[in-house]
Symmetry: C2
């Protein structure tokens, strides 16, 4: 690593964005040292703070300044990393020490909402929640509710093909976007779809030739910096109908979900928790926000203690029970240190699965669909009434803000969102559980259902005696897990993006994609300044990790 030439750098960047918006102090650079990739969090806790501190952070306020930064980066061969709100969990915004982070949060306006066309034009750096509040005020919704809603940006959603909790109704970001405005690494400003600077917006459906918009969605800042987009919006729904159902087996529940989706029903929310995840939910420990929401250190240990009463040898169980009120390293080690045993025990637990389904929109269309769906699910499983659904609704945002204590105690928590077709879903689920079992405690839920398949959202927790062991276990977990996903014919990412954590695995998803990515880089980023190492990597598997 060559040391950044700090003074020239500052002066150059200040001439583009103004001195107030070039950050080079140690605390500022430290603040951009990690996104929410758990590996980075583990490293930070272990005081490994240096590797990803950028040379500088620059905060342009408009497209003109973004272009200026890109032109400067080309001249000086400086790698630049577009940055929204840093909530990514795959290391997609990590810079090297000679890189400059381009923080886009000053591009934060809703440019226009169009109620005739049900579209909006919005800048990239706006925080999801701020945008949604303003849309609601105008009687609209984007319908995009990732659990990171309060700390993530529209640009990030588009860059990473984000899906919100209501994606079954409103779609993923790639379904919502009609056009993006991008400053490419070649220094061109292009509108990927119809040109909204024309006298009037053109058709939003890609009608002829190859589709430019869908090229830039999911490109994660490797081809250009996204400044604005035109997104489809919906009326703010006037009714929400949520309900819980209980099924004896995961497979029975999946069958019912498949039937519902293929009948043309459009639930906003479909979440099926597997046996163990449901078990945690059912015991309703204090502080639990529902299945998987309760994965805080205290709640996890408390719940595991309860589970232990059923399944562990009595002496072990008693010990756990006695210590349920404290979260100690030793206890976590006891629980998470032997994941294979614990996972195996969970496998033989007698437990049912919980399905949460929600509809939202306008009467009478939504009432009719919900009636039909609830009737269908009630005949396949047991109707638990409104409470489980509404409980989920109240607590759906909790999970993202409860993980810190786990890390404090030396453990880690992470998620792996994969997907496949219905006919392959059980195989994928079982393969990945089996692959992860030796390394971490595994929970799963199924969400984001489609007529042709579903995603699976694995949540896992692990523990190492020290930072190095934790990092080793963390890496082994991902290497084994994504290898299993690829072997089982699943897609290695569903809505968290690729970043750097999966960049060594994407070739498995798209065998023809390498040539395409090279061609795009050659055209849109000829000097290779844009977010190096993300999305695609020469190195395979976790070899691609920085």
């Amino acid at each position: 690593m060559k040391p950044p030439e700090s003074k020239t750098l500052r002066r150059d960047l200040a001439s583009i964005v103004g001195d107030d918006f070039v950050l080079t102090s140690v605390p500022d650079r430290l603040a951009y040292n990690a996104d929410c990739w758990p590996r980075g969090i583990i490293m930070s806790r272990g005081r490994q703070l240096h590797r990803h501190q950028p040379a500088a952070v620059v905060q342009p306020r408009n497209e003109h300044e973004v272009l200026g930064v890109i032109q400067w980066a080309r001249r000086t061969s400086t790698p630049i990393v577009p940055f929204g709100a840093g909530s990514g969990v795959c290391g997609g915004t990590l810079a090297d020490n000679d890189g400059v982070v381009v923080d886009l949060k000053r591009l934060k306006s809703i440019v226009e909402t169009n109620h005739d066309d049900m579209t909006m034009r919005v800048e990239s750096g706006i925080i999801g929640m701020n945008m949604e509040v303003e849309l609601n005020r105008r009687g609209l919704t984007l319908g995009h509710f990732p659990s990171s809603l309060y700390c993530s940006s529209v640009g990030g959603y588009l860059a990473g093909r984000s899906a919100g909790q209501y994606s079954s109704r409103y779609g993923k970001m790639e379904d919502m976007v009609a056009s993006m405005r991008v400053v490419t690494g070649a220094g061109d400003v292009i509108e990927t779809g119809p040109d909204p600077t024309a006298a009037s917006p053109r058709d939003l459906v890609p009608d002829c030739g190859p589709d430019l918009t869908q090229l830039f969605v999911g490109s994660e800042g490797t081809l250009g910096i996204l400044t604005e987009s035109t997104l489809r919006v919906s009326k703010k729904p006037s009714i929400q109908l949520y309900r819980g159902f209980q099924f004896r087996t995961v497979n029975g529940a999946l069958e019912a979900i498949r039937e519902m989706m293929q009948a043309g029903l459009r639930p906003a929310v479909v979440r099926l928790y597997d046996e163990f995840d449901s078990l945690l939910a059912k015991r309703k420990s204090a502080g639990s926000g529902g299945p998987a929401q309760g994965l805080t250190a205290r709640a996890l240990t408390a719940k595991l203690g309860e589970v232990a009463m059923d399944v562990l040898p009595v002496p072990v169980a008693s010990e756990l029970k006695g210590r349920m009120s404290t979260v100690s390293k030793a206890l976590l080690n006891r629980i998470l240190g032997q994941p294979l045993t614990l996972n195996a025990l969970i496998d033989v637990l007698p437990a049912d699965c919980l399905l949460v389904v929600g509809f939202e929109g306008e009467s009478p269309i939504v009432d009719n669909e919900a009636d039909y769906a609830f009737d269908l699910l009630g005949r396949r499983g047991i109707d638990l009434g409104r409470e489980p659904g509404e409980h989920w609704l109240r607590h759906r945002m909790d999970v993202s803000y409860k993980q810190s204590p786990m890390y404090d105690a030396g453990a880690f928590v992470d998620t792996m969102e994969v997907s496949t077709t219905w006919s392959n879903l059980t195989r994928l689920y079982e393969s990945v559980r089996r692959a992860l079992a030796p390394h971490v405690l595994v929970l799963a839920h199924f969400s984001h259902a489609y007529p042709e398949g579903s995603s699976i959202y694995f949540t896992f927790a692990g523990f190492g005696a020290d930072t190095d062991e934790t990092l080793r276990r963390y890496e082994a977990t991902w290497a084994t897990g994504l290898e299993a996903v690829a072997r089982a014919g699943g897609s290695v990412a569903h809505h968290h993006g690729v970043g750097v954590s999966k960049a060594g695995f994407t070739r498995r998803d798209h065998p023809g994609g390498r040539a395409l990515f090279e061609a795009l880089k050659q055209t849109f980023d000829p000097d290779r300044i844009l977010n190096p190492g993300k999305v695609w990597s020469e190195a395979e598997g976790t070899e691609a990790w920085p």
Copy 2:
């Protein structure tokens, strides 16, 4: 043009596909001299038969042979043109005399249908109707019903971003496709989506990185030859509910359609005929299959005669009336020779618009949606009951097979399908009508409605005294029409593709697309052998016409 070296060519190609499947005779080459681009038909009728006869036609039976043909073409620098069934209306399959047409009709199998995932794997050359019949036998439907269904292929649908008559429910081809298998011009065989040769099919949703599938959709054989695809299918519907509504004005009807689409209703069919098109329909002349369906020479003259009774000066009208039973050049000239007057007269006609709406699928979801939609439309317009809808349903495929007599009489008929957002729709409609009025008689209907906008399908008829005058008028019509579309902020194509007829206009749709197309060509067709001159052109407007 260099003359094809016929013997070497035959021998070379025969060594790849077998001698029976290399066609070089004059009648064979003549058969591929034109697709259904009206300009080609006009030229053929005028005995201008030579320009697009290929050097040979080759008919590979599988991917291996397709690859062989591409490798041969690279070695010999021979331009090759992928060909499905030749129903395209934009010259997308026209070859030059030194080119070889690659006819894919022998790739005609449904490889697999998967009822769990509701998908099918199908070869490119299968004719739409043959595929649909077989799907129906298995209880399925693709839901894709272009009026060319009997004479068009799946590969052509994908190549040109085709939309069928039921697209509002089932989507356009780009919505239905999960993955394509392509032999690129670089000689690589790639699967654009998840790899179905893996142990099991991967997820069908593009989950990470840039989207390869959506790059090849709409590429019209300029990047590779499509051999197979995985498409989403649906259950064959058990009910169909069709109905007609009458509105006083186009704008009033469009407002009602917009409300229906934005309420989340999913009609299969939405077709609004403008005042004149509706007038033709209402008069129910013999042989009419409904609005625009009746645009045969006999029906048109008969109807125009009737219209004339209302709007033309009495002597002219009488003369027309007296000659209504014959279709003569003189009569067509009389009617179509002064389009500006006729269009102006039509503008002041007192006439209502006809809206045909259809729902299909399963009870009770579809019944509920149809009830709600029919109620909504009935409050905005006048409910005409089931007959207009069912009349349309019975005659919806008639139009494609009735145009020949018009050409025989020296006239031409063509269509221009454009699209834009709701807020811009009236402006686009009026601009294009005004631009076309001096050249041709113009009718229009609105179909393929979306929450954010709609397409407009202009049908126009013109006449020239001889082939040259007809060609001049035809070119002037398109040049003026598409220029008006671009100026009014519309998209120059909605579902007929680009071919060569619009290749000089696509830059208007996608200002950033030129660099992308060049990059893709460089990567996937480095020797520039694939379908030259299509989709994008250096020349502007009709200068790009061959």
